[in-house]
Symmetry: C2
């Protein structure tokens, strides 16, 4: 039906069956990964076969968990542009910098990838009442895919979430609750009510398939760059599912013979006001400590604790990469620099990566000749509050 063989705990390696609804490892509480019969995948599809396939993440169907005969819950997600940003590169004395522009996804953000997979799998396995906490964009995406599936979405977001995320979620028929607190408080509320309400919790990494959607970022980068992975990737890291997913993709692709063993350095960027992973990275710790008093206007980075912390830290370290934090002011400056030079209005979280790129180029941590991919995880137009606080200059 699919080439998934089983689920495996990402920490303790316990095995669970993939043909029923699963959450986290029953033993250690950590995320589960879908594992595939890669030999069968390899004989079923060659990377050359992909060229003429549809421009969505479902082009990688053989390495996705949904049974082949089941129609995905899709709105056209994935296969987003990888834009060469030459003027931006040139300003920083670089030669080959690309922006992976996730704004063109349904609901305008990278969250569409994970939710398309999670809702497709939940529907197939019979879960029709879905719930999740969100910093904003995940809410909009879950609302959209739940509606597309004919399922219910119950969303819990911090009261200071961008209003547009609430509106788009309600426009898609979702039940949205505003919570006085952070995303961790929202997650606690979902966990508290899920059992009695009969909700299936699709919090990131609390079910096995959002990360399968996110891993397609790694497949796309490889395919778009002619199956040569870049030297470095800058990724804004809240829950970190993209980093975890790409790392998984690189391993799978190497096993399939699609890429070499070379790995990009993964550079995770957080906000100065909420940098649990940066601190753990610097202290050489395997897990992160919750960031007390988290504060940043970049809602996607206002994540004081991530279930996949150890996976992010592992991937970043194994890749020879690093974690760093930037201020909200620097994020805004990064967004406006890119906007002026390339015309893309990026989200604040991407602004963090754009600022970090400048810092790392100056410090020599990224070389002039290196091929670098910077992620724009969402459109800037969904962050009016941020850009009212740090307004753009009226330049001309």
């Amino acid at each position: 039906m699919s080439f998934v063989t089983h689920l495996e705990c990402s920490l303790c390696s316990r095995i669970l069956p993939a043909d029923k609804l699963q959450t986290v490892c029953g033993h250690c509480g950590k995320p589960l990964f879908a594992r595939y019969d890669l030999a069968r995948v390899k004989s079923a599809v060659r990377r050359e076969d992909l060229t003429s396939r549809e421009p969505t993440l479902w082009r990688y169907r053989e390495i996705l968990p949904l049974p082949f005969r089941t129609e995905p819950v899709s709105l056209g997600e994935g296969w987003t542009p990888l834009l060469p940003v030459r003027r931006f590169a040139s300003v920083h004395g670089s030669k080959a910098v690309f922006l992976k522009d996730e704004a063109s996804n349904p609901t305008g953000s990278f969250k569409a990838r994970g939710m398309s997979l999670a809702v497709s799998m939940a529907s197939w396995l019979g879960a029709r009442k879905l719930a999740a906490p969100s910093a904003g964009n995940a809410a909009g995406a879950l609302a959209a895919y739940a509606a597309r599936a004919g399922s219910e979405a119950h969303l819990f977001v911090p009261r200071d979430t961008p209003l547009v995320n609430v509106t788009e979620s309600r426009a898609a028929g979702a039940n949205v609750q505003l919570i006085d607190g952070l995303i961790t408080d929202c997650a606690a509320e979902v966990a508290r009510r899920a059992a009695e309400e009969g909700w299936f919790d699709v919090s990131t990494l609390k079910e096995p398939y959002r990360v399968e959607g996110k891993k397609t970022l790694g497949y796309e980068l490889a395919e778009q760059l002619g199956w040569h992975l870049p030297d470095a990737i800058l990724y804004p890291t809240g829950g970190g599912t993209g980093v975890i997913g790409m790392w998984k993709a690189f391993e799978e692709m190497e096993a399939l013979g699609w890429v070499s063993s070379k790995r990009p350095r993964l550079i995770g960027v957080q906000a100065s006001g909420c940098q649990p992973l940066v601190r753990a990275f610097e202290r050489h710790e395997p897990f992160a400590t919750e960031h007390a008093g988290a504060q940043t206007l970049a809602s996607g980075l206002r994540v004081p604790r991530a279930l996949g912390d150890f996976l992010i830290l592992r991937a970043v370290r194994a890749s020879g990469g690093l974690m760093l934090a930037v201020t909200d002011e620097e994020m805004a400056a990064g967004v406006y620099r890119l906007g002026e030079l390339e015309g893309v209005f990026a989200c604040p979280e991407a602004g963090a990566c754009l600022a970090a790129f400048g810092t790392l180029r100056k410090a020599g941590a990224i070389g002039a000749d290196e091929t670098v991919v910077i992620f724009n995880t969402a459109t800037g137009t969904k962050y009016p509050e941020f850009f009212e606080y740090y307004p753009p200059p009226n330049r001309l």
Copy 2:
């Protein structure tokens, strides 16, 4: 260099050369159309050749005006999803309804298509200071493509334009002026200042190439539907360049042997508070009279006068289609119905088409078995003012 042979006035058929900057017909002041050597296009590309090309509007390179060796000013525009909307169709007793979802374009709207072409051509022909009036989305798109080209953008928008359009334009380094008035007043301001400032006016249909970008909508519909055009198309009609462009595309494709002589009925939808084309259609007039006191919160439909009025009316009539108007309340209801059923948060202008579809189905003007395409021209997330005024229900 390209297969364009000349420009031709869309009203009086006067011929102008295509190898220099042109605006409108010097004789009658009406829009110019690019004409191609279709025999050469035909021998250069077969429709089957397109399958493996890049998923942007530049896949139709042979029938676009930019010289083949010139790199387009591109952000990944076009080749947007054509989503089957089965649940929405079913509610209306229909079988085959598709949503052409233009929200996945750069800057979140269909305006990216025209601006990618217009800015590409202006850059090639040496115009580096670009100006335009806009109801909102065109501003964001011109700002983006001008920045991408390294050119200046000078934008004039009504003061009640959604703030996010101003922000995204300024984020891309554009000069944005807020005008007390309508888009027609903004256009007058551009016209007044263009000569002394050295600006090239890229108002829609005041230069020949935005419509070339928009026509790719017609090519995409044909290709995505296996080279069978639908029975009817519902399109929100402000300036109407999409209708004009698609009609041009249908004629070109027939000449190329890519589609038959069958034409979809073009159904143009306007706002009750601004319906100059509906009135002209009903009065069997060839041109429209400016709509006095235009009022609608759907900014893209707040267009009291369109330079291409006669072209829109001609195409709609020749297609056997019609024009109709709906209220802002109906637009909101249309948006929320689609959202709940399919997960897409459409713009108010698309809401007008969604509402009109219901009306026409009830009246029997669209048959149950007909294949229908409804356009979502932009993401709903760029219209916070509209959706605050008509807030979504919190349903669950």
